[in-house]
Symmetry: C2
Subunit: 275 residues, 2 copies
């Protein structure tokens, strides 16, 4: 979503081009290398409305046997780093009661965040996707542990409540375990609602072409999220197998993809032909 | 302990020279590079007895105000990889109840191993020093998580009991959470007892030189552990500040180091002069 973020003014171009992957390769250098660094200025092309088509990445359309998802918005999400700092110590010689073990604190915090999330079921989603341990040696109690948290919920009030509760869990658990705990917010994306005229265009296109459709919310972030900040924007979902994505087992039926493309074309035609 | 392991026949030379660090640099190549790859054959030098001197890496000598630790043996230890395998899924779109989340299983297993270890307090030591997550992406439920466990206890029967209990915890928790769990044993070092004649030599040297001494067990592995398999071996401990080691705060008093060196010299002299 880096390109759409720059287009919408969420980040500046320099920031985007300097983003690096785990190996230190930047977007800017790689675009040069593969010959895709274009010359158009950001914002030089006028956009009347935007549509994005995507597999649902969730199980609902498949379960309901509906072909087209008319996406009404994107749920809010917050990204955090949970940082636990203890003290490195030798695995064999340091008595358990003398340790400042960040792992002991982290597992309690994660357990309590999973429990907290149950209060906001079924829409709350808590994901601990990445972990980093220092120094990461088999026979050393770690000095520090950083765990990422991706938290999502369609209700902004829930996101705010969870934010407060996470901070209080970190504080009380880390104090009890005798380590230092810190919550760093990495990204906060509030709930986005798509343009009603774009939603209607998608709905009418599906009806005209004879595809079943239902309104739904997106659990994932998409380029449409940034574009919605500056132009009328809509999204179209099609079913995918078992709701799986970001995974080699991701699969969608050709006829569903064709239906989605067909709806996309007719929604664009309708928007193009209206004032 | 790689050199002493080769000397004692625990590993062969090729195996040792091919060990690589996280950057892929091998011991053999680095010895060549720094000019320390010697030509002597393994085992070509006869050893009558071996002594090793070390900071205690624990808090006991300092707390007891004793200068010399006469080490009677090294506690047994086992190294494991705990492997949790779930299924990668998108953080925003995968309902919690559909996930196979290895993190959810891992935190329960670690919690139960810490609790198990409390049964064997104060000598049991459970350390989770290194973690590896795949794919390690902030907005993806991990597909797999590997956590190292270093478990130590001076009593071989406890080590065996813990081994069984760890496997049963993994099985029951992973089944309950709906993921796959596997325990891989990486290394198993049984309890080592040092040679009584070496212990007496250390004790007599300390007494003769007027240093206080006490018998103790080592929580850490040392080269002496491998040498003890082939020749009479002993160890001398001196105090270190707060029991800290493997840490930049590691500190020992010069007078304690001198006392330890003095005892080492006299223990060697005694062994050299006996038949």
């Amino acid at each position: 979503m880096t390109g759409s973020g720059v287009y919408a003014g969420e980040f500046d171009l320099e920031h985007a081009l300097s983003r690096a992957d785990k190996n230190g390769l930047t977007i800017g250098e790689e675009l040069q290398r593969i010959g895709y660094a274009g010359e158009a200025q950001v914002g030089s092309r006028w956009v009347k409305a935007a549509f994005e088509i995507h597999i649902e990445q969730g199980p609902i359309l498949e379960a309901e046997e509906v072909t087209i998802g008319v996406v009404s918005g994107i749920q809010g999400m917050r990204w955090y780093d949970l940082i636990f700092e203890g003290q490195e110590a030798h695995a064999g010689t340091s008595p358990m009661e003398c340790r400042k073990d960040p792992v002991a604190g982290a597992i309690r915090v994660l357990q309590r965040i999973y429990q907290l999330n149950e209060k906001y079921a079924p829409q709350g989603r808590a994901t601990f996707g990445d972990l980093k341990v220092e120094p990461g040696s088999r026979n050393t109690v770690p000095g520090s542990l950083t765990i990422t948290l991706d938290y999502r919920h369609p209700d902004a009030a829930v996101l705010d409540a969870v934010d407060q509760e996470i901070r209080s869990i970190m504080k009380s658990v880390c104090r009890a375990v005798g380590i230092e705990g810190r919550v760093e917010e990495i990204w906060h994306m509030p709930h986005i609602s798509f343009a009603p005229e774009c939603m209607s265009a998608v709905q009418r296109a599906a009806a005209k072409l004879g595809y079943s459709s239902m309104e739904m919310i997106s659990g994932a972030g998409h380029d449409a999220m940034y574009l919605a900040q500056i132009v009328p924007t809509g999204m179209i979902f099609v079913p995918c197998e078992n709701g799986l994505s970001h995974n080699e087992l991701e699969n969608a039926q050709p006829e569903d993809l064709i239906a989605g493309g067909d709806v996309l074309l007719h929604a664009i035609l309708e928007m193009t032909n209206t004032k």
